[in-house]
Amino acid sequence: MIELSGAAVRLGGKRVFSDVELHVGAGALVAVLGPNGAGKSTLMRVILGLVRLEAGSVTVLGRSPAQARGEIGYLPQRHGFDSSTRLRGVDLVRLGLDGARWGIPVALTKAARKRHRAEAQQVEDAITLAGAQAYAHRPIGELSGGEQQRLLIAQALVREPKLLILDEPLDSLDLPNQAAVTALLRRICTAQRVSVLLVAHDVNPLLPYLDQVIYMAGGQARTGPAAEVITSATLSELYGAPIEVLQTQDGRLVVVGQPEAPHHHGHRHELVT
């Protein structure tokens, strides 16, 4: 689904990362981890074709990222909709289907009306798949973070993408919602054969579901199963400084001695990675 080799990006004269290798297969759930400023969001933007590589190559679904864009569902990082946003969840999901379509949005011909009805069904199916039926007709601004997140996932799913990219989908969710959204993503991966790539701050709620992780730090990246990548040896090598990975009794991973890259939202960065 995604192939990166020798990928390097330079933004504003500054090298963000280089020599990134990545292979993501169909139906895989992959987490992108690392400190702030390590280039996680930039890597997502490369796969979406919004940032050009300085060196190396990237193919998505066997094509260039720009060509594959129609088959990628994307959830940008966000901080929730304004509470006064007067739009329903279903309208938001519907925009996932026709939001990029130009032309007069009135179904005049018989064929257009038929298509309109078929699309309404597609919207409903996506909402059901995301488990958001109960509140899909309420204003999005009044919904909780978890509910908004499910509707956004439905919006990304409605075009039946082969690849789903989510930038910090668990950020600003409480623990039960983090677990529920992760389980939902896993279900989508398995049932719909959609590959999911998500940027995360904390790997722990994801651990039971992950196929692979990409750990980005110090301008490099390591890819592989979580148990092989999140180790003292690998992370020490990435950061170029001694790092210790500890495992708590309940299986959580704790990274100790992580040198902080300069970051902007310090409120969410603890020792847990």
Partner: protein
């Protein structure tokens, strides 16, 4: 001379259409109501009401300045609003109010006051009472010419056609700019384009309602519609219905009254908005 109401409503209705100035006013009012209601619906959803207000205030010095140097004041409206839109865009003042910083708000407020003062100066320099301060600020429903009606119609058709073609991408860009960018939409073009269409709508509307009462048609119908429904299509239709009701009622009442039409239009607009808010509060309480 003020016409008086007769006991027969049909006679009264016919009286409205006897004078050409009244027919022109009704036509111009109808065109502007539809235009302002549609553009206003997007403006309110985009939280760009403050930007719209700024544009409308700049219409006043534009029209006054154009009259001073001997250009048609209609041209002045469009040039001033268009220019202000481009300036706001280049200074990034169009940024929606939620992310707008305090400095931006202060800058816009200062520029607005300066615009009003400049308009006043232009009128004093001109001396001729072409329209006059009152007309430019509070509107002239009853002094609209055939040519103006035609110009309004052309502007309205162009703006509405462009909005219709970009209806869905503009909605997505309004709700979620980042997602719109990821879908390959020209976000910057949509943003700048909408501001220019807003400028055209404001320029057209302020010729009828005056620079200060633009909001009666640009904000109130759209805001009321969004209180009543969250469906985009229904909301747009309702916004147009409200705006038409406001204009027709306002013009009709003003015809039989000695008080200015702007007062009636604005009061009815306010009443419509208030009613919509109340309706929503009642619905939620239940």
């Amino acid at each position: 001379m003020t016409p008086t109401l007769s006991p027969n409503p049909i006679t009264d209705l016919n009286a409205l259409f006897t004078f050409p100035f009244m027919v022109n006013a009704l036509e111009a009012g109808t065109i502007v109501a539809v235009l302002a209601a549609v553009v206003g619906w997007y403006m309110v959803l985009r939280r760009q009401s403050f930007a719209g207000h700024t544009l409308s205030v700049m219409a006043f010095p534009g029209a006054a300045g154009a009259a001073l140097i001997g250009l048609p004041s209609t041209l002045g409206y469009y040039l001033a609003c268009g220019g202000a839109a481009l300036l706001m865009r280049s200074r990034r003042w169009s940024i929606r109010s939620r992310s707008g910083s305090q400095t931006e708000t202060v800058t816009i407020a200062t520029v607005q006051t300066l615009g009003l003062a400049a308009g006043f100066l232009f009128l004093s320099l001109n001396n001729a009472v072409l329209g006059g301060t009152e007309t430019l600020l509070f509107g002239t429903f009853l002094g609209v010419s055939r040519g103006q009606v035609l110009a309004l119609l052309i502007v309205a058709l162009v703006v509405l056609a462009l909005i219709a073609l970009a209806a869905r991408p503009l909605l997505l860009e309004t709700i979620d700019p980042e997602a719109a960018r990821a879908r390959g939409l020209p976000v910057a073009l949509l943003d700048a384009g909408f501001l220019l269409l807003l400028a055209a709508a404001v320029a057209a509307t302020s010729q009828i309602t005056g620079a200060l009462l633009v909001f009666a048609l640009l904000v109130a119908p759209a805001a009321a519609a969004q209180q009543v429904t969250m469906r985009p299509a229904l909301g747009l239709v309702l916004s147009v219905v409200f705006a038409l009701a406001i204009v027709w009622l306002g013009l009709g009442i003003a015809y039989f009254s000695i008080y200015p039409v702007g007062f009636y239009v604005t009061s009815i607009a306010f009443a419509v908005y208030l009613a919509a808010r109340l309706a929503r509060t009642v619905k939620r309480a239940r």
